[in-house]
Symmetry: C2
Subunit: 138 residues, 2 copies
């Protein structure tokens, strides 16, 4: 796959984190697929299925009291096919670090999100934990 | 997509959890893609890239001291294309509940894993936390 295509995906991936950081729900809505099925696993939360549920969650999060920026670090793009790309990256949310999975699909010439999962690194869990899970810390 | 294809993916997804629960590294090795790029985010851990790193992590986990079974609950399959399927599910690891993303690709007529992420639900984090993250609990 060409570097140009990688760059296209990375730009959209960055736009996702910018939409979060600037509380831009309209931008967030255009970043998620309109035709393909979407799903989302926010950190610590049960999976959400379907555009309505996912967009409602973003409306709630982006209008919520937490005004922290979300920064994407070290994104790695791997194309699953011509029209599907997997981005794996770290997220910095204030002082917290998470790891994330973002799946993008090419829909009407734009790369759009079809799935997102983010979860905290063990160091974040351990910082608050009396009894960290053995699997969490391996 | 046909129910038969959904069923094919679910059987392989279940085989992944069985391989974990029975500590079967050989089965785990056949369940992950041999040709496509693979990546894996174990709960709390940094992302791993490439088959060698991912298989080393499974060898370590499956030979480790934790002898808990890993059960998949409520798996939902959505086909991203003819050859790519996304499974979103819950995982029960002993008394702990996680949410997971599994991406399967059709490689030489078999559905094989190309990416896995699992992360704990907030109730699991909150049970040990003095200061749970606002985003974790939304």
């Amino acid at each position: 796959m060409s570097r140009a295509r990688q760059s296209d995906v990375l730009i959209r991936n960055e736009a996702f984190y910018n939409a979060f950081s600037t509380r831009d729900l309209e931008a967030m809505e255009t970043l998620w697929a309109g035709e393909m099925h979407v799903s989302c696993i926010h950190p610590g939360a049960p999976p959400l299925f379907g555009r309505d549920a996912v967009m409602e969650s973003w409306a709630r999060i982006l209008s919520g009291p937490v005004q922290t920026s979300l920064q994407c670090l070290e994104p790695k793009v791997h194309f699953l096919s011509q029209d599907l790309a997997l981005v794996v990256c770290y997220e910095r949310l204030g002082a917290e670090t998470l790891a994330a999975t973002n799946i993008f699909a090419l829909e009407a010439s734009d790369w759009v999100l079809v799935h997102h999962q983010a979860g905290p690194l063990a160091s974040e869990i351990a910082a608050h934990a009396d009894v960290p899970s053995p699997r969490l810390l391996q």
